[in-house]
């Protein structure tokens, strides 16, 4: 059931299924011009990137994009009240039924696609509960001036919205099957100095989910509405249902109607006019018959469009001109002056001449906070919440600083330095060595521990599944240390979980270690594996990261960043050391390189 006054009273949260940047941008423009503090649109379900950039006034705003409905966080899901379905006719039913299931507070939605099978419309109609409504298919949506724009209705250019006075509440409801005519009528009414109470287009299909009768009932119920301006078409029996409502006094407000398609009378077999429904196979379905029947029932049904316009001009605006809710020239100016940014960043910026790191002054951070805190904050793009995470990162940054001159990266740095190259070249030569076999294990280990925790798999089965693929588990195994001669660094790392209530990632890692060390004594949890596990637990327990957000961090190689940053100190030290001792060019002798027979 469509209830306009309830929609006016409460704030809406909208999810778009599928994307159409022009339409979604016009919804943000509407909200901005209406003076809302934030857009109703909370997210988009579509493939592609994680965000879509849209304008909020003259500023850009990132609207989250979810690859499927179940990727939407619960806090958002439970707040959604409306959806706008922009998917193709093939996908509209399945995505709509999913939305009805996934959003517990859903009040309604709008379907944009043309060419949706009529069987699907009926199926959606039957799945709605009595409190819900869905306009469409092939609808441009629902508009409540000053409050809600759900779809393309009213236009997609900000100028159109302002010129049609869509920020002032009026007393005229506007309906049509045709999206184009809906907007034409909105402009006709507002051009004549009247204002709109609400407007929607049913869509031209045979079985619109929201029937014209429901729209008329909603207009009857809405206190603001005094007149209904309706553009109907030949074909179908909607107007006879309307007459029935009028005769039963279910609809008592003044209706001004025009039924298009009188031209059809000219043809023995008329061509298909306009919409799927507009095919008059029987006498009662012609425009002439419907117009006459409406007139008889007391509706101001116009015989021509000229007469229709005159009837609209005669509408009285009882309350006089309404006060402007929004749509000021200043706001429109902001929208029209905007330009897209080349980059979007949330790490640092220049503010009044000083550097700001994630919203805080760098100098004050440098004075008050540890290096670990600043690194963690910058890498995550938000201020750390806990001292524990800051302390741990600080510790890790120190711990990973070097592992002797023997490892691949340090060797490369030294060779480059001895070849007479500069600092940056030598450092980069070392850094370029970091990868799957050297220094890149932390990120892979984090991936293992997340899989273990989220997939609900026993540690034994997990080890078996990796072994079957003939792969090694990153974060497990050491050349020197064994179960009976443990690595003291690992003990120090694991100590950071001491004060955590839960540490599922660390628990899983240690369970894995129990199984692998039973096979071979040196298959212990190593520094990489331990750092990954503890960092995951800290981020989830102290920084409120969800498993999905942790997975996103793995996907962007976050967990390897600490090694790279910290070890840069080590590589630089080895470069300076080689320069200090002024060693010559390094070369291997033939004995030192074997010949592959």
């Amino acid at each position: 059931m469509l209830d306009i006054s309830t929609l006016r009273k409460t704030n809406q949260s909208i999810i778009a299924l599928g994307s159409h940047p022009g339409i979604l941008q016009s919804m943000l423009d509407f909200d901005f011009l209406a003076g809302k503090s934030e857009p109703d649109l909370k997210g988009i379900v579509a493939s592609g990137r994680k965000y879509v950039r849209l304008f909020w006034g003259d500023k850009e705003k990132r609207i989250p994009v979810y690859s499927s409905l179940d990727m939407i966080p619960n806090s958002v899901k439970t707040s959604v009240t409306l959806f706008l379905n922009l998917t193709s006719g093939r996908r509209t039913m399945s995505s709509t039924l999913e939305a009805l299931k996934e959003f517990p507070r859903l009040k309604g939605g709008s379907l944009f696609a043309e060419n949706m099978p009529e069987k699907h419309s009926i199926e959606i109609f039957q799945k709605l509960n009595t409190q819900q409504f869905i306009v469409g298919p092939s609808s441009v949506g629902l508009l409540i001036p000053g409050y809600l724009k759900l779809g393309a209705i009213g236009g997609t250019q900000a100028k159109q919205l302002v010129h049609a006075h869509l920020f002032e509440r009026g007393n005229v409801a506007v309906f049509s099957s045709s999206g184009g005519m809906t907007n034409e009528l909105i402009n006709l009414v507002t051009g004549a100095g009247k204002r709109i109470s609400f407007s929607l287009s049913f869509g031209g299909d045979r079985f619109p989910v929201l029937t014209p009768m429901e729209a008329f009932r909603a207009a009857e119920k809405d206190k603001s509405t005094e007149y209904i301006v309706y553009f109907g078409e030949l074909g179908g029996y909607d107007e006879y249902d309307l007459i029935d409502l009028i005769q039963k006094k279910h609809v008592t407000k003044k209706i001004i109607a025009y039924i298009g398609g009188t031209v059809s009378a000219m043809f023995e077999i008329p061509p298909q006019f306009g919409h799927a429904k507009a095919m008059a196979s029987r006498g009662e379905e012609t425009a002439q018959a419907k117009t006459a029947a409406l007139k008889k029932a007391g509706v101001s049904a116009a015989g021509s469009f000229t007469e229709f316009i005159d009837l609209v001009k005669d509408i009285s605006s009882t309350d006089g001109p309404q006060k402007d809710h929004g749509g000021s020239a200043e706001m429109l100016g902001k929208i029209q002056s905007r330009t897209a940014s080349w980059f979007i960043n949330s790490v640092s910026r220049d503010k009044d001449g000083s550097v700001e790191i994630v919203g805080e002054d760098l100098l004050s951070l440098a004075t008050k906070r540890s290096y670990g805190y600043i690194v963690g904050t910058m890498l995550l793009g938000k201020q750390l919440k806990s001292q524990e995470t800051a302390d741990f990162i600080d510790f890790v940054m120190k711990l990973l600083v070097d592992h002797g001159p023997y490892v691949s990266g340090a060797v490369n740095t030294m060779i480059t330095a001895r070849a007479g190259k500069d600092l940056v070249s030598s450092l980069v030569a070392g850094l370029l060595t970091i990868g799957p076999r050297f220094g890149g294990a932390i990120n892979q280990a984090a991936n293992h521990w997340i899989e273990g925790v989220t997939q609900n798999i026993t540690p034994y089965d997990y080890v078996e599944s990796i072994a079957k693929k003939r792969e090694l588990i990153s974060g497990i195994g050491h050349k020197k240390y064994r179960i009976d001669a443990p690595d003291p660094r690992v003990r120090a790392i694991l100590a950071f979980t001491k004060n955590l209530k839960h540490s599922p990632h660390t628990d899983f890692a240690r369970d894995i270690e129990k199984i692998t060390t039973a096979k071979k004594g040196n298959l212990i949890l190593n520094v990489d594996g331990a750092i990954a596990a503890v960092l995951l637990d800290l981020l989830s327990q102290k920084e409120d990261f969800t498993e999905r957000e942790l997975q996103d961090l793995v996907d962007s190689e976050f967990f390897n960043a600490f090694f790279i940053l910290s070890r840069s100190v080590g590589f630089t030290a080895h470069y300076l050391d080689q320069k200090r001792s002024d060693e010559g060019l390094f070369r291997l002798s033939p004995q030192e390189v074997g010949w592959a027979e």
């Binding site: 043309e114 441009v140 045709s178 999206g179 907007n183 031209g204 298009g260 306009g274 469009f305 000229t306």
Partner: protein, 398 residues
């Protein structure tokens, strides 16, 4: 367009297969003097008699003389060619089932919002129209009303299968008339099925676009627009009304195009309308260019001395006026010389996103080329552009 008819041949193949009955009909397509058959006529029996029916979704075939009964195998070809001369090309040939007229019943199924509406009557065949009051109806649920069993004497299992068939194939309307029921057996003589064309993607091993009955013979431009529409996200339609009309229309939007056509008719110029059609759903520049070209091609074939072009539409929600008008102007530019020769005037009324830019562009083009009739945005009422265009026709006629 949503509801379209299948050929009877295909309809029967599908239904008989569902009901596990063998279908022995033969389809025939006439191509010039040649007739192509779906299976060789030699397979038919010379001892039997056949019915030859036009299979192009025409209503009331019997009354229009588009069915030949009691045809001998050897006469089939000549009968087909004779009926084909009336402008038909698709036929179906079936064995005659001898029966009494009293055994002819009527049965149909239609998709309605509440479910499947079943209509039936014990008086079927060509007389069903005369005995409308005897047609009974109900919305199908699990069990059948007993009155129906009395009337048709069909097993309940049959209805269960029909319902499955209806849903599986996204059928909108199915009519069996006549349905012949004898003591021990029943036969489906004529079958009409309308399916939902938008469901082609969802049906498997069923009907496809090629099984949909073509309308009467289409003009070259109509075929081109249909082809364009099939390949586009936008909606494009074109119907040739009077090849020698004087008013030609390039309209946008389902509702606005009707309003403009109504106004032409109201002003008494309905017969002068060359075409009806519309584009909507934000076609791109290339599509608008092609669509406009086809309208102009049809227009230039008209033998009328005075021609006008109405480019009309409402205030669009999301169709970009600048982009679509770029396509329109590109086509106008291409046919510029022919249009000028015929002294064609252009009348434009349109609104929507980027209307200022779009209108300015087309206005400048029309003025530069001496074809300016009138160009306006939404400040001019939608239908008023028709009055302006027709007043120029009147002037030149007087």
């Amino acid at each position: 367009m949503a509801r379209v008819k299948l050929t009877e041949y295909k309809a029967k193949q599908l239904l008989f297969n569902k009901l596990q009955i063998e279908y022995q009909g033969v389809a025939a397509v006439v191509d010039g003097k040649k007739i192509l058959f779906s299976s060789p006529l030699s397979m038919l029996s010379s001892g039997k008699r056949y019915a030859v029916k036009v299979d192009q979704g025409v209503k009331g075939r019997m009354k229009k003389g588009l069915v030949a009964l009691d045809v001998h195998k050897h006469d089939i070809k000549s009968i087909i060619l004779k009926i084909a001369a009336k402008g038909f090309s698709q036929f179906v040939i079936e064995e005659i089932v001898p029966h009494e007229q009293s055994q002819e019943h009527y049965l149909s199924f239609e998709r309605v919002r509440e479910g499947i509406l079943v209509r039936y009557s014990s008086k079927g065949g060509i007389h069903v129209e005369d005995a409308k009051d005897q047609v009974q109806s109900f919305v199908m649920h699990d069990s059948l009303p007993s009155s129906m069993n009395d009337a048709l004497q069909l097993p309940e299992k049959f209805f269960k299968k029909m319902r499955e068939f209806f849903e599986e194939n996204y059928i909108s309307f199915l009519e069996i008339n006549p349905l012949v029921v004898s003591e021990k057996n029943w036969h489906i003589l004529d079958l009409a099925i309308e399916v939902d064309s938008t469901a082609a993607f969802f049906v498997k091993n069923s009907w496809a676009d090629r099984d949909i009955v073509g309308d009467q013979v289409k003009s070259e431009e109509e075929q081109k627009v249909k082809h364009l529409n099939d390949k586009s996200q936008a909606a494009l339609s074109f119907t040739l009304l009077n090849p020698n009309g004087s008013i030609w229309n390039l309209l946008s939007g389902g509702g606005a195009s009707i309003t403009i056509a109504d106004e032409i008719y109201n002003l008494g110029y309905g017969k002068e309308m060359g075409n009806y059609g519309e584009y909507s759903g934000n076609p791109n520049k290339e599509e608008t260019y092609l669509y406009t070209s086809y309208v102009l091609q049809a227009m230039l074939k008209s033998k009328k001395k005075k021609l006008i072009l109405i480019i009309g539409g409402g205030v669009a929600n999301f169709t970009d006026i600048r982009t679509t008008f770029k396509g329109v102007v590109q086509a106008l530019e291409e046919y510029k010389n022919d249009l000028k020769k015929r002294k064609i005037l252009i009348y434009v009324r349109r609104g929507g996103p980027f209307q200022e830019e779009g209108l300015a562009m087309i206005s400048a083009w029309a003025q530069k080329n001496g074809m300016y009739g009138y160009v306006s945005g939404p400040e001019l009422p939608l239908h008023a552009i028709v009055q302006k265009a027709i007043s120029s026709l009147r002037k030149s006629n007087s």
